[in-house]
């Protein structure tokens, strides 16, 4: 009766079950249930491989995985918005509990307090970390957080320009461009040293540390924005906040950032979690899910999705965003990560990144043909000007067992953005220096 003999392990029912149900329904065949599909459009014959068993599929997946050069097997100095940090086993093990993993968005709070309470923890810890009043439960990633923040600023100020400091990640800029194309928000690119912004600017957007890893003068930019009636949007690396001043302290109105660094593997770019926090006054214009604390009919504290009138399922075309399914499980991973490292641990991790990247920068600067051209304070990334194209260098580094830094020659001539975290041992750094030296000698 089923259209073929295959018995899926994921489907319990078999032909006798189907037969009994069809009888109860009062039809003779499965086809009758699909009678609403226009004649001639039924099409069962998929041009795709036959069913594959778990053993074979796993083997094939491992083959594909083996075609990749995997950080861990290779020393890796890539960052630029996706960061390798040590993730304690407990993060994976606890977030992997099926109670969390196989639940839906907590629309039914009585049977979702696990998800809801941990979501409230996430919001709380992101507030603690950023120094902001409130945080939502996360956007798709750091870049869409940034884009949604610009839209939100525009709604709040009823203005239609955004001033973006030129040191914001070019990838984030591209996403911003995607989001603003329809609403028609105009983007002005400004230097960090700008001392004026166009009238009618809704927001100043700065990344701290910036795309190149360096700290911007955010106090000045905050003043610049606020003097012009614009909001200050800051895009942060949450691990940097283990040691650096939180944006809440320098007047940020909206803080966004990529939460991946907090306990989430790099996974070729996703799923990640976009952090989104802001001042109390702005909560009704926030995008995304928000969990609030309330009481039940017995007066006991409990958690629930709230301020839903901002959201698409209530407000539809007037919603603050179209976002629905977000990244709750990734937010949970970050929550467990933050709980594990906590007050002392996150500062320690940040300082490790700081010291190690400075050690690396100091060594690389000494290599003939290479320079570290930018001035200022950096956190864990810095730009190296190479004697030849970074892509060429990176190719040669592979032979040394090294995945080099990000190629940013589009932004800085022969520029490589080198990222050093606690994952890079001193040996790895020293090997990088040796390899760069050797490669540099070929280009004298």
């Amino acid at each position: 009766m089923a259209s073929n003999e295959f018995q899926s392990p994921y489907v319990p029912n078999t032909d006798p079950d189907r037969r009994a149900m069809l009888d109860a329904i009062g039809v003779d065949s499965i086809e009758e249930l699909f009678a609403d599909i226009p004649d001639g459009y039924l099409n069962y014959d998929l041009d795709m491989p036959s069913a594959r068993n778990e053993l074979d599929l796993t083997r094939y997946a491992r083959e594909l995985a083996a075609m990749n050069r995997t950080p861990g097997d290779y020393a890796c100095f890539l960052g630029a918005g996706s960061y390798r940090h040590h993730i304690p086993a407990v993060v994976r093990q606890v977030a992997g509990r099926s109670e969390y993993m196989t639940a839906y968005t907590p629309y039914q709070p009585e049977v979702s307090q696990g998800t809801l309470q941990t979501a409230f923890e996430f919001q709380s810890l992101i507030c603690q970390l950023t120094g902001m009043d409130v945080a939502n439960l996360g956007m798709y990633d750091g870049s869409t957080s940034l884009a949604e923040a610009a839209l939100m600023a525009s709604r709040l100020t009823r203005r239609h320009r955004a001033a973006v400091v030129e040191s914001v990640s070019p990838l984030y800029r591209e996403v911003l461009d995607t989001y603003v194309q329809a609403p028609g928000i105009e983007i002005d690119t400004i230097p960090a040293s700008a001392d004026s912004i166009p009238d009618e600017t809704a927001c100043v957007i700065v990344q701290q540390p910036n795309f190149y890893g360096y700290m911007e003068d955010v106090d000045r930019l905050a003043k610049l924005a606020h003097d012009a009636g614009a909001l200050l949007i800051v895009s942060v690396d949450p691990v940097s906040l283990g040691m650096f001043r939180p944006p809440g302290e320098y007047g940020a109105d909206i803080v966004v950032g990529e939460g991946q660094a907090l306990g989430v593997p790099t996974t070729f770019g996703g799923p990640y979690v976009g952090l989104f926090a802001c001042k109390q006054d702005y909560i009704r214009q926030m995008p995304g899910r928000i969990v609030g604390r309330t009481v039940d009919t017995r007066g006991e504290e409990a958690y629930v999705l709230t301020l839903q009138t901002r959201e698409q399922h209530i407000r539809r075309e007037r919603a603050t965003s179209n976002i629905c399914t977000a990244v709750a499980l990734i937010a949970l991973m970050s929550t467990i990560y933050l709980a594990s490292f906590g007050r002392r641990g996150l500062r320690h991790v940040a300082e490790l990144c700081y010291h190690k990247s400075h050690y690396a920068a100091g060594k690389i600067e000494e290599i003939p043909g290479y320079s570290v051209p930018m001035d200022g304070t950096f956190f864990q990334e810095f730009v190296v000007e190479c004697p030849t194209s970074p892509s060429e260098i990176n190719e040669k580094l592979l032979d040394h067992g090294i995945i080099g830094g990000a190629d940013i020659s589009a932004q800085v001539s022969n520029g490589m953005l080198v990222c050093v975290t606690e994952m890079n041992s001193r040996d790895e750094i020293d090997n990088l220096v040796t390899a760069l030296t050797e490669i540099g000698e070929l280009h004298k």
Binding site: M101, T178, E351, S391
Partner: protein
Amino acid sequence: MTSLLERAALDRRKLLMDRSRSGRIGTTLPPLDVPEAQLPEPSLLRDDLDLPEVSEGEIVRYFSQISQFNFSIDHNFYPLGSCTMKYNPKLNDEIASIPGFAQIHPLQPVATVQGAVKLVWELQEVLNEITGMAGCSLAPMAGADGELAGLLMARAYHLDRGDDKRKNVLIPDSAHGTNPASAAMAGFNVVTLPSDSNGNTDLDALRDSVSDELAGLMITLPSTLGLFDTNILDVTRIVRDAGGIVYGDGANLNAIVGRVKFGDLGFDVIHSNLHKTFTQPHGGGGPGAGPVIAGPRLVDYLPTPVAGRNEDSGEEIFSLDAPAKTIGRMGAFHGNFGALVRAWSYIFTLGKEGIPQISEDAVINANYILSELKGYYDLPYDRTCMHEVVFAATNLRREHGVRAMDVAKRLIDYGIHPPTMYFPLVVEEALMIEPTETESKETLDYFIEVMKQIAAEAAEDPDMLHEAPHNTPNTRLDEARAARRPDLRWRRQE
């Protein structure tokens, strides 16, 4: 004065910051193995980092305990309509955690991630095949993100042709909220389209709504009423004849996967929620993935990147490309790769034999529930349904003052997750039930019996239903208070 037991229950709910004790730590820290650099000037640094201090065992116990307050597919029947809460195979999680997938960095040179890009490409190809479309980008990170991408593509398409009057997007009244929200984000006016008494698109209304201002139509197939629109060929034709783009919300693909292809029916662009049809676990609200899949008219506008395959002296080479007229990036990198791996694993496990069986069983199961519960609950559209059936508790409200909400909450007492309630909006007191194909007849029979019992209870003891659920860690919540007095984070008690 609260009793010890009550206090224990409260303590179990204590937040991390309230569990914090100075000096505790939940993990071990690597030592510094390089000389210390000079720290930045203090004005750049933070004074305090007020995060929790708890040990690893405390973390595990806390998160493990409260996890059990959740219902989840692994523990409960979860017939949440429109959400396709099917069994999520464990294999997929294991494959996604292979280090060669989980540990690779999105900015690695593409030559160093050929296996990952090949997987992306294979998934694109099979999604194209399943939906009958020309091309696909896996960049969108959820259904709504796919909608935004598809609508921005439609916008770009019209503008490219100098067609800048096309401002209106038609959306049926039964549509999911993301449809109008996405249309608005893509700069369109939303025009609501009524359905006819059978739940199909009202063709007359449609004809009246098309004009040279029509940008397109967003339609869910089957609809959120769980119905396959029998007018669908007319619908797509009318829209396309008027110069509009037909957008298909593929959230309900589970109903028709392997049976009928969107491309064949005249759709220009659709999205598919990999976290519904293709078993990416919902995770309590994501992550998902919402690939946008386009027909010939829109394929060049797909968001970046799209994986490509070339041959070089017999060797396959995979690339990540920007389509010719791409609308740009939907996110910083290449989409939710972790979810893509799981969908890939699921699809190729089932293969050409198993994929069509999904919809077969999903549809049988839903119709079985329909036929068994008909008469006990109002059935607004009395016709064969697809993967889900929408009942209405209007009879119970009328006769006993029992609402859809009460039925939903009472189901919890029986260990069953409530169906979607009060959606679609066009159905009063809606109870939208989607069993999925991964539930057994025994489970359906139990659900049916429970639903009948609840109908009986509504007559006998409506107050008991108003007070449901009875055995959960919390009774019904004061949602109004939550919204009126937002309490959104832990704060130190002064």
